[in-house]
């Protein structure tokens, strides 16, 4: 496991208390905390390099552009992108997926076509496709999940028989922790003639991602779940696809020439980056990637899997606890319910002991319907969590059981 005694001091927020207790932050699938190096990178950028990018003819503007483009190179390296031109900066996974739906989708999906999503997708990988399909007279086909929380491959196969234009799925489920066989799914989808869109919001922070090995067409990530600022993110795509796609947002920066009645477009990726970009977010994302690479993504993944394994083992010893998701192939996400205690009550009770977990539908209402629950409690781990955090979680959950009189 990672040496959390060395990692924790890097995160200023972990030094503070929550309701008089050590802050036990277990809502990392929602957003991660930020290390000093990322915070410092943003301060450094504004203190020494701030200017608008890609346009100033002076040294400061060149420095700002260099900082921004260095972050693009870092993202490209981090996920093994096809080319650095295939990295479009966005506000996060949601905007990345909306970009694909609004550009590739609007140009290629026609009446009667289908778009495949899965029942474990986050709303951000469902709703943009619903909006697209409603506009085009196309259909969203939701692939079912198995009892143990995996994508049902036979249903996936059936959905492909309709020759969908787009197949979208999450690499890692935010609600179940399932690590999906992304390369296999992408291969099957390609054989059916679809382009594939991978929601990488939960994989990018926690696994070594290789988009070329997965061989998807589009991969979306959010910076804020991987130590970087909120509002940072990227769409990683095959450059040839981006070249052929119409622009998403019109404005400055994305144009080549603007005539009175029409315009021509800038090269990729700038064609998709209309307006002044969030340079500080990109710079922060670059610093976060450096931090994660120094730890080593394989070690990060192993650390979280061990914490999840331990949490599942310890929580399972409490009578009345139900854990959701598969036994193996899972990331550091532990969804659970406890007897008839509503997850919101659990979250309130845990918070009194400084333990922050998420309670609710986790932006996965179709999945919750299939699990037959209105909500779950979810503990999710990251590099600074340790065994003490699991002790605090388990102790607080037992307290909730005593308060509510759940049979022990």
């Amino acid at each position: 496991m990672l040496d959390t005694r060395r990692i924790r001091p890097d995160f200023p927020i972990l030094a503070q208390q929550e309701n008089g207790h050590r802050l036990v932050y277990l809502d990392n699938a929602a957003t991660s905390q930020k290390p000093r190096k990322v915070i410092d990178a943003i301060v450094h950028y504004y203190s020494f390099h701030n200017a608008n990018v890609h346009r100033g003819a002076y040294a400061l503007a060149v420095a700002a552009t260099d900082a921004y483009e260095a972050a693009r190179t870092a993202v490209a390296r981090y996920v093994n992108a096809w080319a650095r031109e295939g990295v479009v900066f966005t506000r996060g996974t949601t905007e990345s997926i909306n970009l694909v739906a609004g550009s590739w989708g609007r140009a290629n999906v026609r009446r009667g076509d289908s778009v495949v999503v899965t029942a474990m997708d986050h709303h951000s990988n469902i709703v943009p496709w619903q909006i697209l399909c409603q506009e085009k007279g196309a259909t969203v086909r939701m692939v079912e999940i198995t009892e143990d929380g995996r994508i049902d491959l036979s249903d996936f196969g059936r959905a492909l028989e309709a020759k969908p234009k787009i197949v979208a799925f999450p690499y890692v489920s935010n609600s179940l922790g399932t690590v999906n066989p992304a390369a296999q799914l992408s291969k099957l989808a390609h054989a059916a003639g679809a382009v594939t869109v991978v929601d990488g919001a939960q994989s990018s922070p926690h696994l070594r991602v290789d988009v070329q090995a997965i061989d998807c067409d589009f991969y979306a990530l959010s910076g804020h779940k991987m130590l970087a600022p909120m509002g940072s993110g990227a769409l990683i795509a095959k450059p040839a696809l981006l070249e052929a796609m119409p622009p998403y947002h019109g404005g400055g920066e994305m144009i080549e020439r603007v005539w009175d009645d029409h315009s021509t477009w800038n090269k990729i990726p700038h064609k998709f980056e209309g307006g002044t970009p969030n340079v500080e977010a990109a710079v922060g994302l670059g610093a976060a990637i450096t931090y994660l690479e120094q730890l080593g993504l394989d070690k990060v993944a192993a650390h979280e899997q061990e914490l999840a394994r331990l949490a599942i083992e310890r929580l399972s010893q409490i009578e009345g606890i139900t854990i959701y998701g598969p036994r193996d192939h899972r990331a550091g996400v532990v969804p659970f319910t406890y007897g008839d205690i509503h997850p919101h009550d659990l979250a309130t009770i845990l918070d009194r002991d400084g333990v922050c977990i998420r309670a609710g539908h986790h932006c996965t209402q179709p999945l919750m319907r299939r699990l037959g629950v209105a909500a779950t409690a979810r503990a999710s781990f990251y590099i600074y969590n340790d065994v003490d955090d699991i002790d605090a979680l388990v102790t607080a959950v037992r307290k909730a059981g005593e308060l509510f009189g759940v049979p022990a």
């Binding site: 205690i341 509503h342 997850p343 919101h344 009550d345 309130t348 009770i349 009194r352 309670a359 609710g360 539908h361 919750m368 629950v373 209105a374 909500a375 307290k399 308060l403 509510f404 009189g405």
Partner: protein, 152 residues
């Protein structure tokens, strides 16, 4: 643990476990639905109003869609307003809302919810059923949501 004890008072835990008037009222001449989209709490409220008086009232929450606070609040509300003039129910709602906003303690068993004041994230849970009742009495057909009412 003391403030948790204030929040989850015995009367609240009891009404959560054994909610009163937990029934669909076929005869209801007023109905309302309440939603808290952020946490998924949902309530269906049925009210029978005769001659300006709430002669019967019932509520349902789809399986698992009500936390202890929202369910106990709905249960205690139905007890507090059953048999009372609709006008009195509105007055109680005002007193309840005032209490949660930091004002005077509400009358009777409703005082049990004073502990919610220390938990701002849970005030919407306590208010949900009351907003649904208000909508039902106003004969408003639109579902109430905690995200539309300014004073939730």
């Amino acid at each position: 643990m003391s403030d948790l004890g204030e929040l989850y008072q015995q009367v609240i835990l009891d009404h959560n476990r054994n909610p009163r008037n937990f029934k669909q009222l076929e005869s209801a001449n007023r109905r309302a639905e309440g939603n808290n989209p952020l946490c998924g709490d949902r309530i269906q409220l049925y009210v029978q109003v005769e001659g300006g008086t709430i002669s019967d009232i019932g509520f349902q929450m789809p399986q698992g869609s009500g936390c202890a606070i929202s369910k106990a609040s709905a249960s205690l509300m139905t007890e507090a307003v059953k048999g009372k003039p609709a006008q009195d129910a509105e007055t109680l709602f005002a007193a309840f809302r005032d209490m949660l906003a930091g004002g005077a303690i509400a009358p009777g068993k409703l005082a049990a919810f004073s502990g919610v004041r220390a938990f701002p994230s849970r005030i919407k849970c306590a208010n949900l059923a009351w907003h649904a009742l208000h909508a039902a009495l106003q004969n408003s057909a639109a579902p109430v949501t905690t995200e539309s009412a300014k004073d939730f």
